[in-house]
C-alpha cells in the first residue's frame, strides 16, 4: 500500500473539495435553522491536509464551480457566483483554509492550536464575505454584518468545536501526518 505521495494527496485534496461541495447540501436539522456542513469541511480540509494541499483543494473546488459545474450551494454554478452577493465567502475560503493549514501544521497537532487556527480562519472568512456583501448589495456596514455574519456565529462555534474533535479522531486513521514531511 505504499503509494506515491503526490497521487495520494491529489486524490485526498479532490475528496476534500468534493466534501466541501456536498457540504452545501448536507445539513443537521436542529432547531429552526439547520446547520450546514460546508464550512466545517473547509476547516477540516485545512486541518487534515495542511496549508498547501488545503489551498489546492479549495482552489480546485472554486475553479470547478467557476467553470459552471454544479458544486456551489443551491446547485448554481458559474462564474456569476463570484460576482453575486455571496461571492466574498467563496473567495474567502482560500485565505481561510491556507491560514488554518499553516497554523495547525506548524505546531504539534493539539486541539487548542486547531481551535485557534479555525477562529483566525473564520475571522478572515467573514472579513472577506461581509465586505464583499457590502460592496455588491450596497448595504451599510451594520446591515451587512447583521445579515451576513451575526446569524451564523453560534453555528460556527459549534462547527469549530466539532471540527476540532473530528480532526483529533481522524488524524491517526488517515495517515496523512507521516506523509507530510515528504510532500
Amino acid at each position: 500500500m505504499e503509494s506515491s505521495n503526490q497521487l495520494r494527496m491529489m486524490v485526498y485534496a479532490s475528496l476534500c473539495a468534493a466534501l466541501t461541495a456536498v457540504g452545501a447540501f448536507l445539513a443537521v436539522p436542529i432547531g429552526p435553522v439547520p446547520i450546514v456542513l460546508q464550512n466545517m469541511f473547509v476547516y477540516l480540509a485545512g486541518l487534515l491536509l495542511g496549508g498547501r494541499w488545503g489551498l489546492a483543494s479549495v482552489g480546485v473546488y472554486l475553479l470547478t464551480g467557476a467553470c459552471g459545474l454544479p458544486v456551489f450551494a443551491g446547485g448554481l454554478g458559474g462564474i456569476g457566483r463570484f460576482v453575486g452577493p455571496t461571492g466574498g465567502y467563496l473567495i474567502g475560503y482560500l485565505p481561510t483554509v491556507f491560514l488554518i493549514g499553516k497554523i495547525a501544521q506548524r505546531a504539534h497537532p493539539r486541539m487548542v492550536t486547531d481551535v485557534l487556527a479555525m477562529i483566525c480562519g473564520t475571522l478572515v472568512l467573514y472579513a472577506c464575505g461581509v465586505s464583499w456583501l457590502k460592496i455588491v448589495s450596497g448595504m451599510p456596514l451594520t446591515k451587512a454584518l447583521a445579515l451576513g455574519m451575526v446569524p451564523f456565529l453560534i453555528g460556527d462555534a459549534i462547527k469549530i468545536a466539532a471540527a476540532a474533535a473530528i480532526a483529533k479522531a481522524l488524524r491517526p486513521v488517515l495517515r496523512i501526518e507521516k506523509l507530510r514531511p515528504c510532500t
Binding site: M40, L63, G68, A162
Partner: protein
Amino acid sequence: MAELTSFSFHPGSSLLHKLDVRFKIFFLILISLISLGCGFTGLCILTGLLTALIMHSHLPLKSGFKEFRFFIILLLLILVARMLATPGTALFEIKSIAITRPGLMSGIRICWRLVVIALLGFLFVFTTRSSEIKAAVEWFLKPFKFIPAKHIATMMGLIVRFIPVILNQAKETAEAQRARCLENRKNPFYRLIRLGVPIIRRTFEQADRLIVAMEARCYSENRTDAILSATRIDWIALLIIFIICGGIVSI
C-alpha cells in the same frame, strides 16, 4: 448529483449545444462583467437575449425554479435592505418606515442583475458536458506554465466523481443513525461529530482504494481529452456578442 438538482447537462441539438466550450466560457465571463456596470436599458437587452436563448434550448424552467427558491429569498432580502437604507423622496410611508423611490429603483436593478447572472450560469451548465469543460479549462490554463493544468483537470474530474460517492455514504450513515434513534439526541455538537467522523473516514477509505486502482492501471497525466474545435458559428457568435456588449457599454 442528478437526483439532487436539475442543474446538469442535458443532451440536445440547440445552438448553445453546438458552440465551442471555450467561446461559451468567454461569453459567460464577458456578459457577467458587462451586467455589473449596465443600467436598465442594458439589462433589458440582456434579458431579451437570454429569453431567446432559453426558449431556443428548451431549458426546464419549472424544475429550475425550485432550485432558485433560496436565491429568490436572498434577492428579496437585498431588495428590502436597499429600499429602506437609501435616502430620497419617500414613495409611501408605513408609520416611520419610508420606502424611497431611488432605493426601490437601485434595489430592482441589483436584483435583476443577479438574476441575469444566475440564468447565464444555468444555461451554460445545461448545455455543456463536464468533460468538455474539463478540456476547456486545461486549454485556458496552458499559457500559465506554473499551474499544473493536467493535475487540475484530473482533480476536477475526481471531484465530480466523488460527489455521488459522498452523498450515498451520507445517506447510508444518516439511515443507520436513524435506526439507532440518534435523532433523539438534541446536542448539535454530538450530532455533528457522529455524522462527520464516519462519512469522512469511510470516504477516505474509498479514496485509498481508488488510489490503489489508479496506480494498478498505470495512471499518468497524459490522457486523451475531449477534442475542442472552433467552427464558423463560434466566430459569428463572438462577433454578435461583441456588438451587443459594445452597444450596452456605449448606452
